[in-house]
């Protein structure tokens, strides 16, 4: 294949924005977007709430400064303050830009973009389009990329970077529709593959494909990952699918009830009850389950979110989507039955370590969005900042790559590299020594992560988790791809995704073990407080000799001094 100036891996919000911005910066560039799905299917579409930007449409006194402070505080002071400044000061501009290109937004009476209040924000700053903001942003970006004639390679699964010493020559990927392994020689590569929270499998609200492919590829190429231990949990995921029952259900007066019939939140937040902060409610549910007051089912232990006392009329008029979701995905009508819930992993703060331009330590390789870690979310992401992150840093990475693309001519990707890769993935199809089923391994990975590296973490449990992950990796070497065909082999794709998750799970567990404090989403029962003296710093993990090697990076500070995080 012809040399590309930029190959973008991933077609969600970050990848598409990068592609669009790069084409805008230099229309002569040869740009490709590789995506393992059709880009309009990306997980960006699942973000319902909206994107924060201090447009000051709803609250005239809102400022970028306030947005910066809210974000830093929300991050439990682990975010880099210069990066947060970029995020928040670019926010109004990028939301307006999205508007200008045709994104639908809900509107205020004065015809400007509507904004609503969101958790952890001092002003109503979250720009939204009904309850489908991520979906409409993704559709618009995809449409605009089609308008600009971006070259899409849909249903291509990225396998690995092709390296020339310490420099990338491009990417090797499998065409899922044909099974053919192909080389994409490229001057620059941008990873925008989304998060890795699906490693918690059915204890995750994420799409099946949020398996951290970009992070795993970068990691295998020696690029460091950062802050991997920070995974955000949402208190009320559906028991079977992990899908979120949004806070609205509790906002309207839903009860959380344990197997003894108690409204257990009275133990943890007697004033606010079910409406306590998200992390506190998550921890409360987890405690109930751990102390044996949960319900049992083949899909695991769970609790009840009971809406029945609200009555059919209120449920139908105010919570129609939640009701529909429970009926569709759980087969439960909340008018007649309580909803089975448990905490669910839904966002990964960590990712590929980048600077404020999306650059990694490897020249020519970039990362953006949930895939990267700048870091703007630190130890805990604020609602409404995830969409913003992918937009702002997708665009920045696209521009940076476009500017750099001219400066380097990589040597070609050799045929034997491609052939070796082909051999490597096909080896799973051999029957000799291969007998493990990927579904079992995947389920067990989610289970051990949920139990041992979940909401509550503690030294001995994390050790157990690390051992179990190692054992799963060993078993993975015997995994069998039963489908031996070339065309659309999802058996193979899912095995490769599992490999990526296993690689990353190691770094999550390693980070959880080493960080001996509680900060943001990371809660250590054996170190229950934040420890700024020893742990006000980022962790990094670099693959050396098959093991993650730990490193540290200072947090960029600025105007805001460390404070206790209270609301």
């Amino acid at each position: 294949m012809k040399l590309f100036d930029i190959v973008i891996v991933g077609g969600g919000g970050a990848g598409l924005y990068a592609a669009m911005e790069a084409m805008k910066a230099n229309p002569a560039l040869n740009i490709a977007v590789l995506s393992k799905i059709y880009p309009n299917r990306s997980h960006t579409s699942a973000a319902q709430g909206g994107a924060n930007a201090a447009l000051a449409n709803s609250a005239k006194d809102d400022t970028v400064e306030m947005h910066i402070f809210d974000t830093i505080k929300g991050s439990d002071y682990l975010a880099d303050q210069d990066a947060v400044e970029v995020l928040c000061s670019e926010a109004p501009k990028i939301i307006r830009e999205l508007e200008n290109m045709g994104t639908p937004w809900s509107r205020l009476d004065d015809k400007t973009i509507a904004q609503r209040p969101f958790g952890g924000a001092g002003r109503p700053r979250c720009c939204y389009c009904a309850d489908k903001t991520g979906h409409t942003i993704l559709q618009t970006l995809y449409e605009q990329c089609l308008r600009k004639g971006v070259q899409f390679f849909n249903e291509y699964f990225a396998l690995d970077l092709s390296l020339d010493g310490s420099r990338s020559k491009g990417i090797i990927a499998m065409n899922i529709k044909t099974g053919k392994v192909e080389a994409f020689p490229a001057r620059t590569v941008i990873f925008a593959t989304g998060g890795y929270a699906k490693m918690y499998w059915n204890r995750s609200s994420n799409a099946a494909g949020n398996t951290g492919d970009g992070q795993a590829i970068a990691y295998r190429a020696g690029i460091p990952l950062k802050d991997m231990e920070f995974v955000q949990f949402h208190p009320t995921g559906l028991r079977k699918s992990g899908l979120l029952v949004t806070e609205g259900a509790r906002g309207e007066g839903g009860y959380l009830v344990n197997a003894l019939g108690e409204r257990f939140m009275s133990r943890y937040a007697p004033e606010k009850m079910e409406l306590g902060p998200r992390d506190l409610v998550s921890r409360s549910l987890e405690t109930e389950i751990l102390e044996g007051r949960g319900f049992d089912s083949p899909a695991g232990k769970y609790l009840h979110l009971d809406l029945r006392h609200l009555g059919a009329d209120l449920i139908k008029s105010r919570l129609p989507q939640i009701r529909e979701m429970c009926m569709y995905f759980e087969g439960v009508d909340p008018i007649d039955e309580p909803i089975p819930v448990r905490p669910t992993a839904h966002y990964s703060m960590g990712g590929i370590d980048t600077d404020n331009f999306g650059r990694t330590v490897m020249e020519g390789v970039y990362a953006a969005g949930e895939c990267g870690c700048v870091s703007v979310h630190g130890a805990n992401r604020l609602g409404g900042n995830s969409l913003l992150d992918i937009l702002v840093f997708g665009r920045i990475a696209g521009r940076a790559a476009a500017e750099e693309a001219g400066g380097f001519n990589p040597s070609p990707i050799l045929d034997n590299e491609v052939a070796d890769k082909d051999q490597e993935i096909r080896s799973f199809m051999r029957s000799k020594g291969h007998y493990e089923r990927y579904g079992t391994l995947r389920e067990e990975l989610g289970q051990t992560l949920g139990m041992n590296v979940g909401i509550y973490r503690e030294s001995s449990k994390i050790h157990r988790g690390i051992e179990e992950i190692a054992a799963l990796k060993e078993r993975f070497s015997h995994v069998r791809v039963f489908d031996t065909g070339d065309v659309y082999n999802t058996n193979l794709v899912q095995v490769l995704e599992l490999r990526n998750m296993l690689d990353l799970a190691e770094t999550v567990a390693a980070g959880a073990l080493v960080r001996e404090e509680s900060r943001g989403s990371h809660t250590r029962t054996d170190y229950p407080t934040r420890d700024d003296i020893n742990w006000h710093r980022h962790t990094t993990y670099t693959l050396m000799n098959g093991k993650p090697v730990l490193g540290f990076k200072p947090v960029s500070m600025g105007r805001y001094e460390l404070q206790e995080r209270t609301y």
């Binding site: 501009k93 200008n100 290109m101 809900s106 400007t112 559709q139 087969g331 065309v487 058996n491």
Partner: protein, 345 residues
């Protein structure tokens, strides 16, 4: 409160999934495999398929991604109806099976088959490109990001529902005309085109409309409403198709295409006689040459069976026609006034 502490005890049943299989590398034609598994209530068809793939037959191939009804990947035909596997409860499907406890699962129609339940989506993307399914902003790119277009909530509502579309292609699969001709624009693309056309920020309205009234375009829709009834997001797709047709007549005139001429004939006939003059409808829609070529061969039989519609002079006006005509004309006055008001704004 008391019974919320009760455990879920779920009924289990043996369910057979009769799944369409086809691997182009080995199969000369598609066939069906039966998978019988024990399932509890509350399981979706997608979870059942996942279970089969993980535990019974890893080669079973289908698309799935978000598993939450928003990405549109897992549209397939379940018991003969196109829908998302992830939002479909097995228990609900068991109530509508032709054979007890057997759920048929097949790929979408009207798109090329790749394998098992996976079809090629590129033709749909190609049509989105062909019909400029994007907002072509009135604002030059260099100026983006400085200030918002002002859009009322009322205008937003014009395209709000249309932007719910997740391109799952269920409507494509159920479309009558696509089944007859795959070049047809497709319901989803008409919906998206409409959404762009009613957006005041868009500058390509006229061009897009010109494409839409062309061959295999908006006038080929046969009004069967299957798209709308199938839509997993309950979008009134036919309203969008109607909207494009109305818009086409308003902006391009009633003489523009055979579809528009056909529509105009109704207006004319009703205004004159209150009744449709069917005998000359083909000529007025498509001209004399077309009519002779296409309908003359059938005319003979029709005459013999006395099935020919009466010639225009013999079409009896509806009774009370004078008064009706007066009302009809007066309404034309109202409409003209509406137009004046609209263009004055």
């Amino acid at each position: 409160m008391t019974d919320s502490s009760k455990q879920h005890i779920e009924e289990k049943r043996d369910v057979t999934f009769r799944v369409h299989r086809f691997n182009p590398q080995v199969d000369s034609k598609p066939y069906f495999d039966d998978y019988t598994i024990k399932l509890e209530k509350g399981i979706t068809v997608l979870r059942a398929l996942n279970y089969i793939k993980e535990h019974v037959d890893a080669s079973l191939t289908f698309r799935a991604f978000c598993q939450a009804g928003i990405c549109g990947s897992c549209a397939m035909r379940i018991n003969n109806m196109s829908k998302l596997a992830c939002t479909t409860q097995v228990w609900d499907e068991l109530e509508r099976t032709r054979e007890p406890n057997v759920i048929r699962v097949e790929p979408l129609r009207n798109l090329p088959l790749i394998k098992d339940l996976v079809v090629e989506m590129d033709p749909l993307v190609g049509k989105m490109q062909q019909f400029s399914n994007w907002v072509d902003s009135k604002m030059p790119e260099e100026q983006w990001g400085r200030k918002e277009f002002l859009v009322s909530e009322e205008e937003f509502r014009k395209y709000d529902k249309a932007t719910d579309c997740i391109l799952c292609a269920s409507c494509v699969s159920e479309c009558t005309i696509l089944r007859a001709n795959r070049d047809y624009v497709s319901p989803a693309v008409l919906l998206k085109s409409y959404r762009m056309n009613v957006d005041s920020r868009d500058a390509s309205h006229e061009q897009r409309l010109a494409g839409l009234v062309g061959d295999h375009g908006v006038w080929d829709c046969t009004h069967c409403y299957r798209c709308q009834e199938t839509c997993v997001k309950h979008i009134p797709i036919m309203d969008a198709i109607h909207g494009i047709r109305e818009d086409a007549i308003e902006r391009r005139g009633v003489k523009d295409t055979s579809g528009a001429r056909h529509a105009e004939a109704f207006m004319t006939d009703i205004g004159k006689k209150g009744k449709l003059v069917e005998a000359t409808l083909p000529i007025r829609t498509n001209g004399v040459a077309w009519t002779l070529k296409n309908l003359l061969p059938m005319a003979f039989k029709m005459v013999i069976k006395r099935r020919t519609p009466p010639p225009p002079l013999l079409v009896k006006s509806t009774s009370g026609i004078e008064q009706f005509r007066a009302e009809f004309r007066e309404m034309s006055g109202h409409v003209a006034k509406d137009h004046e008001k609209k263009s004055g704004e």
